[in-house]
Amino acid sequence: MSDNGRPAVRLRMPALPDAVGVARQALTGACEALGLGARATGDVRLAVSEACTNVVAHAYRDRDEPGELEVSVVVLPGELTVIVRDRGTGIAPRVEGGGLGLGLPLIAALTRRAEIVEQAGGGTEVAMTFVTDEAEVGA
């Protein structure tokens, strides 16, 4: 359980393709430890993969070296919130393409609520909150 909303887990890593797999695996472990069912775990894995892929693909596209990708996990009664944060130019898809643009709608569909906040100092924070109550999830 997170104390006073402080993350129970925080991961920092370079925004390289490997980061998506690391985040996905880490969240799978967290869901397992929290006793989430297969359906809820699948939703978390998919949404986190989408958010991290957006960071890897778009957040640092103006730089030669990738910046940081941060994934935080906050656990509260009945809820699990995963925050994916970058310090780059944000996760807006490139105008010239590079995806179908389904990532953010998919995240919205998989979560209880999802918030995207452009940070004052640069970068974007995607906060995804999932239901962890089995009865509500219907796992």
Binding site: M1, S2, D3, R6, P7, A8, V9, R10, L11, R12, M13, P14, L16, D18, G21, V22, Q25, A26, T28, G29, A30, E32, A33, L34, V73, V75
Partner: protein, 122 residues
């Protein structure tokens, strides 16, 4: 192969073992640790999680250098690395850590200590 470093702050003991084990597992696979070494790495990961239980925040870096997996545990108080080795070995037996990893080292930085555990594929 380029280095890939993950810094994990694991403040919740319920999640720490499961999350660290998964991160160590995927990074171990990335450096092609054979199955016996991967098993050792996961054993060490579980022991590190258990030994650091009760700490509010522990930073653990799983860094992949070419063909090497490294766990850097800290920051610890002076003398903390030696105490942590003792705690890790307690459930496994004295000297067990030296049989599971290829490198045990300590490093100091700004008055803090770090325990470094390295594993290589061969």
């Amino acid at each position: 192969m380029t280095a890939f470093r993950v810094e994990a702050e694991l403040a919740d003991e319920t999640l720490a073992g499961a999350v660290l084990g998964r991160v160590v597992g995927i990074l171990g696979a990335r450096v092609a640790l054979p199955i016996d070494k991967l098993s050792d790495a996961l054993l060490v990961s579980d022991a590190v999680s258990a030994a650091t239980r009760g700490a509010h925040v522990i930073r653990i870096e799983a860094g992949v250098e070419p063909k090497r997996l490294e766990l850097r545990v800290g920051p610890l108080e002076p003398g903390g690395a030696e105490r942590l080795i003792g705690s890790i070995e307690a459930p496994l037996g004295a000297g067990s850590l030296t049989r599971l990893v290829d490198e045990i080292a300590t490093a100091g930085d700004d008055g803090a200590e770090y325990l470094i555990l390295g594993l290589a594929p061969s």
